[in-house]
């Protein structure tokens, strides 16, 4: 026969999970927020992309006197040896300036309000592209910026052709050089040779931190509210003669984790699909730039086991915060207690998030190691640092071990105190009081 005094038994967890999840989806409020969140995420990508294109368009169409002041002629005075193609020398076709006529001149003539002069010259520090307009020109400075940017790109590729340099040779010459400090040869050898630059790590770490923070902040209030439901419904006692306390709380926690995860996964997939669809129809430069902006090429180059590490770390982090939310939720006695409990977890989560955003750019090996080890912060930075080769495996392993130890601690604490907390209806207990309560059981957590 099973030991009925075993507080870690979880018989019935499946039934609690199923009931909680089913009822969550049956509830109009939860269903509405689920659909709303997914819809918002689906629209977010296309809206951002379209707004980027729209502002680009608005810039080009902002001149109310567009018809009269439309750019008609671009005079080019090229004082450099770099030559351009005779037909469409600045590749203006399919741009906002395609109607303009390019005229190569020895020197820029007197300009009318629909003409621009461009002087490409060699200076002391390199090449210089100067744009000239008439005093009464209707061409806006924004339009002028767009044009010079385009000419700049065009000049870039032409001078490469002129110098007879291939793309590979160009990359060899222009790849950036950075410096870094490593405190031991062992550390150096353990660092991945394909080290990703600090700026890129900051981007990945920020994105990872945002994902974790969204997961945590959304789940925390759901978990706390759901765990408190037993108290508000006054059904605790009936439940405690039907199901193990740990099964009750963990079933509810897992149900809420699945609810939030499925919401974010569906929202994320929806966003990816909708953004792709919109990008097919939206060929603007801004849209292309928007797509390029989210460059996760380094992540695609990861080995499957590193992707697994990222995934496992994410799940563990999520579990750690959710169990903590479950404990704090069962210590609440009334609706007003939810706020302070949510705040405690959000503070921890924000600390991790800020670390994930700020620390990667500092690029200090000692700081890297410390942040990868401290629980709650390590969960935001550790996995990204490791998979992108910023810290050696052993550092990540220590951080992971400490994180697992924290989860085990919280799990045991939950098993020890949940039954007591859930029948307590006097006042909200602080975390220190919860720890005291656990010590009243035989043995400490």
């Amino acid at each position: 026969m099973k030991n009925s005094n075993n507080i870690y038994r979880m018989d019935g967890i499946g039934k609690v999970f199923k009931f909680t999840l089913t009822q969550t989806f049956k509830n109009k409020g939860y269903r509405f927020s689920y659909i709303l969140m997914i819809a918002m995420m689906c629209f977010m990508g296309p809206i951002s992309m379209l707004s980027a294109s729209a502002s680009e368009k608005a810039i080009l169409e902002s001149d109310p006197l567009k018809e009269e002041n439309e750019l008609k002629t671009i005079y080019v005075q090229n004082d450099t040896p770099v030559s351009f193609a005779k037909e469409d020398p600045f590749e203006l076709k399919d741009t906002a300036f395609e109607k303009a006529v390019v005229s190569n001149v020895e020197s820029i003539p007197t300009l009318t309000d629909t003409e621009i002069g461009l002087i490409i010259s060699e200076g002391g520090e390199g090449y210089l592209i100067s744009s000239i307009i008439s005093d009464d020109s209707g061409i806006t400075s924004l339009q002028l910026d767009e044009l010079t940017k385009h000419i700049h790109k065009c000049f870039e590729s032409n001078r490469q052709i002129y110098a007879g340099i291939s793309d590979e040779q160009m990359e060899l010459l222009t790849n950036g050089i950075s410096t870094g400090k490593v405190y031991s040869l062992e550390d150096y050898l353990s660092i991945d040779s394909n080290r990703v630059p600090a700026s890129r790590i900051t981007v990945y770490s920020t994105v990872y931190s945002i994902i974790v923070m969204i997961l945590v902040s959304l789940t925390v209030s759901y978990v706390i509210t759901t765990v408190m439901e037993e108290k508000t419904s006054k059904l605790v006692e009936n439940l405690l003669v039907s199901v193990r306390p740990l099964a009750l709380v963990m079933g509810k926690i897992f149900a809420m984790m699945v609810y939030v995860t499925s919401m974010l996964v569906l929202g994320g997939l929806g966003s990816a699909v909708s953004t792709s669809i919109v990008s097919v129809f939206n060929k603007s430069e801004a849209a292309a730039e928007y797509t390029l902006h989210v460059d996760f090429s380094a992540l695609f180059g990861l080995s499957p086991w590193k992707i697994l590490i990222l995934f496992v770390s994410l799940v563990l982090t999520y579990l750690m915060y959710s169990i903590l939310a479950g404990i704090l939720g069962s210590a609440c006695t009334k609706a007003e207690d939810v706020g302070p409990s949510v705040m405690i977890i959000n503070i921890l989560s924000i600390a991790g998030y800020i670390s994930g955003m700020a620390f990667p750019s500092i690029d200090n090996p000692v700081l890297d190691k410390i942040t990868c080890i401290i629980p709650f912060i390590s969960s935001y930075v550790g996995p990204v640092y490791f998979v992108l080769g910023r810290v050696p495996f052993w550092v990540y392993l220590i951080g992971l071990a400490l994180q697992i130890a924290t989860i085990i601690f919280l799990f045991r604490l939950c098993a020890k105190v949940y039954r007591k907390l859930i029948v307590n209806d006097s006042k909200r207990l602080k975390f220190s009081e919860i720890l005291m309560l656990s010590r009243q059981e035989a043995g400490n957590v």
Binding site: M1, K2, S4, N5, G12, K15, V16, F19, T22, Q23, K26, N27, E229, T232, S233, K234, L235, E237, N238, L239, L240, V241, S242, V243, R419, K420, V423, Q440, E441
Partner: protein, 317 residues
């Protein structure tokens, strides 16, 4: 065998809330836990059901520690409640499944108990015929639309779903109207006849007296009276005398020093010291040729025993 509660104690800080309480239920029947507010009844029940840690003592069911692994327990808690947002049928099914029932069996049991407790209208959609002849289903009420009494009946239904061997009813009749009280009483009687063990806590002495065979009266966390109800009553003797005559008999009553509790139109409620005093009064009345309509000498009621014992205990303090 049966239920054995040994030496239960509980302290909150320095305050003792349950002080070494023990009792046995060797055979099926109703055991009553009685006491004033805050005497420790609910705390004792929570310890018996292993919801609260005991500072000392043990609770055995057929020689093994009582838990829902070793005993099929049905429990009606003192605090009434239901999940306010979830459909009633889903909640009942959830509790039934947690207790190991399968859906088909549970549906039959819910149907039975719903009829028995007059809860059909709250659990099953009502089919109404519209003026155009079409039939329409009206959703049953949601939990937050139910009265406290009906919520209590739903909780009782949940307690009965697993066909429990041990039924623990904490204040089962409080908040029920007379019609529903009778419905619940009938069910309790059925359960007694079916050989179930029932622990009942209540303030309504008359109702408890109707069912229970054994009692414990708690006062300020201690058991002050404990045992078989009939035995307890016997110990107090037959001291309640209900007497009805057709004329004033005050002089005869006073002559023997008998205490008068109440008088209404020659109908006397007297407190005698015992059978001897009652017989002496009867003899005097017969000798005097006074016609007697009713002469009823009875034991103390549970209510009187409770008030007497708890009052004495409080006076001692």
């Amino acid at each position: 065998m049966g239920l054995s509660v040994k030496d239960l104690s509980k302290k909150y800080g320095e305050k003792t809330v349950v002080d070494h309480i023990s009792f046995e239920m060797e055979k099926p029947g109703v055991y009553a836990l009685l006491g004033t507010n805050g005497a420790g009844k609910t705390t004792s029940i929570r310890m018996i059901l292993d919801m609260l840690d005991k500072d000392s003592g043990e609770v055995l069911w057929n020689g093994k520690p009582l838990s829902f692994d070793t005993c099929n327990i049905g429990y009606l808690a003192e605090e009434r409640g239901l999940y306010q947002k979830y459909p009633l049928m889903d909640q009942i099914m959830y509790f039934g499944e947690l207790r190991g029932g399968n859906r088909d069996e549970l549906e039959k049991k819910i149907k039975y108990w719903s009829g028995r407790l007059k809860l059909d209208e709250y659990l099953y959609p009502e089919v109404k015929t519209l003026p155009n002849g079409r039939k329409s289903k009206v959703k049953p009420k949601s939990p937050d639309q139910l009265s406290k009494g009906n919520q209590q009946k739903i909780q009782f239904l949940i307690a009965m779903l697993s066909d429990p061997e041990l039924l623990v009813l904490d204040e089962p009749f409080s908040g029920l109207d007379p019609v529903n009280t009778d419905i619940l009483k009938d069910v309790v009687r059925e359960q007694i006849d079916a050989g179930k063990y029932i622990i009942m806590s209540s303030h309504q002495m008359a109702v408890v007296e109707e069912f229970c065979t054994d009692i414990t009266i708690l006062s300020r966390s201690k058991a002050i009276v404990k045992g078989n109800l009939n035995e307890i009553k016997k110990n107090y003797g037959r001291v309640n005398l209900e007497l009805k005559c057709e004329q004033d008999i005050s002089s005869y009553i006073n002559a023997l020093g008998i205490q008068t509790v109440s008088v209404k139109e020659f109908e006397y409620h007297l407190k005698v010291t015992g059978e001897e005093q009652a017989n002496a009064l009867l003899k005097n009345l017969v000798t005097a040729g006074i016609p007697i309509v009713r002469f009823d000498l009875s034991e103390l009621s549970l209510h009187e025993i409770f008030v007497k014992e708890v009052g004495a205990d409080e006076e001692q303090q």
